[in-house]
Amino acid sequence: MTDKSYPHPTRRAVLVGAGALGVAPFLMVRRAEATPETMKAAIHRVIGESPVKKGRVTLDIPPLVENGNTIAMSVAVDSPMTEKDHVKAIHVFNEKNPQPDIISVHLGPRAGKATFSTRIRLADSQSVVAIAEMSDGSLWSDTVEVIVTIAACLEYN
């Protein structure tokens, strides 16, 4: 059926070629940005090896954002805020901004309420993670997926 003089591409060759074509554009267009791995590294740098449990933290960001340059964000942690049991710090990280850190706040029993809010920038649709560090050393987190239609950091002047 096939002509012996013309080397017919094998199924393997076709798949390998297609794979290479599929992977190459991603390698070429990769920009300088934080990735889930760099976010993990940043979290590791800030809180160390300790295990992080889900819960007690409420990260409030609108799930759909039009303008990535200012996004209202608030974090509330369920804690009695007493001398014995309080939140020591709250750290917020992102996956796809050029830098994985957003903010770290340090508070204590005098806060009365472990809640803060601010406005952040997001360069892309991504997930944002808030981690609370308790006075007993335990760590709690919440993750929110945010869709951003106009990204921050793209405008040139």
Partner: protein
């Protein structure tokens, strides 16, 4: 360096948890943008915000480039005694801006 806007309730009952709102005008330049001739604009952000209540630190925040221009931060504190709340912002160039507010606790 910049204009600031502080909102602290002037009066509170002892033990009441009060909300504090702070705003400072600052470009929070990320260092990732370029000007019209393609030259990178150097990073200039406020990287530290500290609030003290009669000299005791009650809230501190390390800010990064992901904080929007004109940083707006709100947080809470327990009204323990009458006195002054001091606010201090420090930027990459070492410039410091301060503000203060009085609170009367009854």
């Amino acid at each position: 360096m910049a204009r600031t806007l502080i909102n602290v309730p002037p009066k509170a009952k002892r033990g009441q948890v009060v909300e504090i709102k702070t705003l400072i005008s600052h470009v929070m330049e990320t260092g990732y943008r370029r000007n019209e001739i393609g030259v990178a604009i150097p990073r200039d952000i406020i990287n530290l915000f500290v609030c003290t209540y009669n000299g005791t630190e009650i809230f501190r925040a390390d800010l990064h480039q992901a904080i929007a221009a004109n940083p707006f931060i709100t947080f809470f504190t327990t009204a323990t005694e009458s006195g002054t709340l001091e606010f201090k912002w420090t930027d990459d160039n070492g410039q410091v801006e301060t503000a203060s507010a009085k609170i009367t606790v009854e």
